[in-house]
């Protein structure tokens, strides 16, 4: 059997020829080929845990028949394998067309390309392992450190989308995800400190985004703070002013802004799994989501932010858009299908996590835009409060109202100064009240970008990469509490 596209990169002529030869006749056909090369290396206590590479490639055929879309996906990349996928896609569309939720149209014709802007290099397995070993050694700042760990993941994802009405889109993104941390133990107290929370150091770019000038200072600080937490006081139970570092804001934005603004959730698609939203279609253009300091954007154009791209997986060109401006809700996270179904303004966010999943509404980069306050001004203005860093626990209800987050590390704020270290800090609140109590937003000097490779949603389930940039932010009247 001829394996027609095993040799990367795929040439556009190959997909055009495939498209012309598919054994089906439909109103519209799209082909989306995806190839991912994913290197994963990790160590624990200076010993190798995982060293390997995934080469994952496949193709999705999308077929439109009488207004109904069907898809067939396969990683059997022979002419016969792809032809079979096309026939299955056609059959799915035919079977479903009497029950279709929405009458789809052929997707518009789009031609273009996008590549990660930064120069991307891959280090050798030996170099990475030597560096990981050194990190484990440097994390162990005391005998009370009982575990050190480090993980580095480099991914390059290429996609090529062609359609029967002439679309040709090539995209190549290079992603870097890293994590390291230390666990300290004393008696029955165990504390873990990491580099910004679970795999939060996510960038679009190469090795430079891991081996930064401050790497060893961060490593030393994380080891030291893990030990420091062993003797720290428990976070008190009280209602107070809460200041969040950007490495916690990432999840706060993700869970309480990103997900509730997904239009497919608002339209009910996710009600059986991820959930719905407290936001109603009639809220766009009217709802006061938060305080006037709140400006939130969908921005896939920041070159090194994790989820930047040129086009979404339905072929819509990606642009920066305000979702919330001065606290007012303007626009949702809905791709072309959701915009047509809801008649609401959306963005280019119809994304799939892999070749074997159909595009749905996803976050890309969702950012809180910087304000005007320096970190010193924010802390200095607070008589009593708590500053928290680095997520370790997250949970929110299915309509994105009631949330609870736990962090790794906190500081008490007393009379405008950061004072005692606090362990096991948690907070809980309700989304509109919380954002309504946004009282200070840090300036551009406090703004940092993070991300997550683990955003889960969809039926069948999809795990996709998202980016979040934020300054430091302060919120009034938040319930905080410690461990048991």
């Amino acid at each position: 059997m001829q394996n027609i596209i095993a040799n990367s990169p795929v040439q556009p002529e190959q997909l055009d020829a495939l498209l012309a030869d598919l054994p089906i006749t439909a109103d519209w056909v799209g082909l989306r080929w995806v190839k991912e090369v994913d290197d994963l290396r990790s160590m624990r206590d200076g010993l190798p845990q995982s060293n390997g590479r995934t080469i994952n490639q496949g193709i999705m055929v999308e077929v439109l028949v009488d207004g109904q879309m069907g898809y067939g996906a396969t990683n059997s990349l022979s002419t016969a394998g792809i032809g079979k996928a096309a026939q299955l896609a056609y059959q799915q569309a035919v079977n479903a067309k009497a029950y279709g939720l929405h009458r789809s149209q052929p997707r518009p014709t789009v031609v273009g390309q996008y590549r990660t802007a930064a120069q991307v290099d891959r280090q050798s397995a030996g170099t990475i392992n030597e560096l990981m070993s050194e990190i484990c050694q440097q994390l162990k700042v005391a005998d009370s450190i009982v575990q050190t760990r480090v993980m580095i993941n480099q991914r390059t994802i290429e996609s090529f989308y062609v359609s029967s009405n002439g679309s040709h889109i090539y995209q190549q993104v290079s992603l870097l995800v890293s994590d390291f941390g230390a666990t300290a133990q004393s008696g029955n107290i165990t504390q873990t400190r990491s580099n910004g929370g679970l795999s939060s150091h996510c960038f679009q770019g190469g090795w430079d985004y891991f081996q930064t000038a401050d790497l060893w200072a961060r490593v030393e600080r994380i080891g030291r703070q893990a030990v420091e937490l062993l003797t720290a006081e428990e976070c008190p139970t009280t209602t107070t002013t809460l200041v969040l570092d950007p490495d916690q804001m990432l999840l706060q934005i993700h869970e309480s802004i990103g997900h509730p603004l997904e239009i497919d959730r608002i339209l009910g698609d996710e009600r059986n799994y991820a959930g719905g939203s407290f936001v109603r279609p009639t809220d766009f253009g009217h709802l006061v989501y938060g305080s006037p300091l709140m400006n939130v954007t969908f921005d896939p154009t920041i070159s090194d932010e994790f989820a930047s791209y040129g086009f979404d997986d339905s072929g819509t060109p990606a642009t920066k858009e305000y979702l919330i401006k001065e606290g007012k809700l303007l626009r949702g996270l809905g791709g072309a299908d959701s915009q047509a179904r809801s008649d609401l303004p959306g963005v280019a966010c119809s994304r799939s996590c892999d070749w074997n999943r159909a595009p749905i509404d996803r976050m890309a980069n969702i950012n809180l835009e910087p304000g005007n306050s320096s970190l010193d001004e924010i802390i200095g203005s607070i008589e009593l409060g708590i500053y928290m860093e680095s997520n370790r626990s997250w949970s929110i209800d299915d309509r994105r109202h009631k949330f609870q987050f736990g962090c790794e590390y906190a500081k008490l704020i007393e009379n405008g100064r950061l004072t005692k270290t606090l362990r096991d800090p948690n907070y809980r609140d309700v989304t509109p009240k919380f954002w309504g109590n946004l009282i200070a937003v840090g300036n551009a000097d406090t703004w940092r970008t993070y991300g997550s490779p683990y955003c889960g949603k969809g039926e069948p389930n999809q795990m996709i990469w998202v980016g979040h940039g934020s300054p430091v932010a302060a919120f009034a009247n938040v319930e905080v509490f410690g461990g048991s």
Binding site: N3, L47, P48, N51, G52, R53, T54, I55, N56, Q57, Y71, G72, A73, N75, S76, L77, S78, A80, G81, K84, A89, Q91, Q92, A93, N95, A96, A98, Y99, G100, L101, N129, V146, Q185, N188, T190, G268, D269, R271, N272, A358, I360, S393, S395, I396, D397, D398, R399, H401, K402, Q404, G406, D424, N426, R428, G456, E459, P460, Q462, G483, S484
Partner: protein, 438 residues
């Protein structure tokens, strides 16, 4: 067809690898695959529908006390370029440090399990029972395969033709009930009976929501809710490695603390719904008691952990997570649930669980779907969603009052990366002083 061709491809690839290995080299090869149809519903109509055929190999390579791996596509008509993959692995392994706990294949074992099924692939069969309902969810069906082969000669095969329908019914006020119908042979009458039961349950929700103040309440957790709590033990719970590395919520049990004598948990592979072979080619015991009447008697130990911490492997998987959990039933009959609950909360489902304080076993999450306020043994009203934050040392400890005399099979419906297999066999539980915080 997919299962047969995948099994043949695995055997051929394993044979080719054995031929091409140098004497000092060893390998372990896994195959994960599916040929599935996914139909997604919203509002009683089809939102998306598609077919996925996906087969992936993971090849672990060992030499000189070192190891590395490659994942690559397989499938019916794919012949992986194994010579170049091996050459790539040989080049990389020279650059790595030794892995003292690498698990090398040693003993040749074989096993084979193949289960056929029969089920519809057309959405018409699903929607014929849902007329007039705001029906939403996912129907997934097809063949799932798992394979294993190694350089010592072991070969294991598992294939199953199965379906899962995971659905919710909503009313106009957003109140909802949840249901799952899963198996290998579709029974139209059984499916219609279940939808009718869900329809009836939704009708019971047609009362104004009762707002519940935060506090502690006597609570009945239905089997699906219990399954969510049991699932937390697979994430920093029952794993021996997690216990050894200070990452487990069960450390207090290891130190001698006990849970309620009403709580017994085991792994039980008798049902044959998941492969009993693991990532190292070991076969798990058919039954393995983990918590016996409140006492931690075993943890899940894989061969790597066994080597590192001088333990005995019990065939656990690489993450030492539960694959076939079964909780023992108790004495509480179905009829006694509401009278014994008296006044409190009846929870059918939970949502979005996470450890809020792992060392003390504290879990937070939300109530979801058909959850009711009950007074004097009578259902009074559905409730708005509540956040709970409670320690397993309490709700599975002194606060566990009763366990139902029946268990339900809660099928795994996750499909991250591919369709899951198996599920949890769990009863319902009555607990006192379950803590609600928001």
């Amino acid at each position: 067809m997919f299962a047969e061709s995948s099994e043949l491809a695995l055997r051929q690839l394993a044979a080719a690898l054995r031929e091409q290995l140098a004497p000092a080299e060893q390998f372990v090869l896994h195959l994960t695959g599916e040929a599935s149809i996914f139909t997604r519903f919203n509002g009683g109509l089809v939102r998306q529908s598609g077919a996925v055929q996906d087969a992936r190999y993971q090849l672990h390579f060992f030499r000189d006390g070192k190891t590395c791996w490659r994942n690559f596509a397989g499938g019916e008509d794919q012949v992986p370029p194994i010579a170049s993959i091996l050459e790539d692995l040989r080049q990389e392994i020279d650059l790595l440090a030794p892995d003292p706990y690498a698990v090398l294949p040693k003993v040749a074992q074989t096993s084979r399990h193949s289960q056929t099924g029969q089920f519809p692939t057309d959405p018409a069969a699903i929607l014929e029972a849902t007329t007039g309902l705001d029906f939403t969810g996912l129907y997934a069906c097809g063949t799932v395969v798992r394979g294993y082969a190694d350089s010592a000669g072991s070969e294991h095969w598992f294939s199953a033709e199965t379906f899962t329908l995971d659905y919710s019914l909503f009313d106009s006020e957003g109140r909802a009930v949840k249901g799952t119908y899963a198996g290998s042979h579709w029974q139209a009458a059984e499916y219609q009976r279940q939808i009718a039961a869900s329809r009836q349950q939704l009708a019971q929700m047609q009362r104004s929501l009762k707002s519940i103040e935060r506090g502690q309440y006597r609570t009945y957790l239905a089997p699906a809710a219990v399954a969510d709590l049991v699932g937390m033990l697979s994430w920093g719970g029952i794993s021996e490695a997690d216990l050894q590395q200070g990452q487990s919520a069960l450390a207090l049990l290891r130190d001698g603390r006990q849970l309620s004598p009403l709580l017994s948990l085991q792994e039980d592979f008798q049902g044959g719904l998941v492969p009993s072979f693991n990532d190292h080619g070991e076969i798990a015991p058919v039954q393995l008691s983990l918590i016996d009447r409140g006492q931690l008697v075993n943890t899940l130990v894989n061969a790597r952990t066994a080597q590192e911490y001088d333990r005995v492997s019990n065939g656990a998987n690489s993450s030492e997570s539960l694959r076939a959990p079964s909780l023992a039933t108790g004495q509480l009959t179905r009829e006694q649930i509401l009278p014994e609950l008296g006044t409190g909360l009846y929870l059918s489902n939970l949502h979005y669980l996470n450890w809020s304080d792992r060392p003390t076993g504290r879990i937070t999450g939300m109530t979801r779907y058909a959850c009711f306020w009950v007074e004097d043994g009578e259902v009074v009203a559905p409730i708005g969603n509540l956040r709970f934050d409670a320690s397993l040392y309490d709700f599975w400890g002194a606060n566990l009052l009763a366990v139902t005399d029946f268990a339900e099979y809660v099928a795994a419906v996750d499909s991250y990366g591919g369709r899951s297999l198996g599920g949890d066999l769990v009863p319902g539980m009555l607990v006192k002083d379950f803590t609600y915080t928001l």
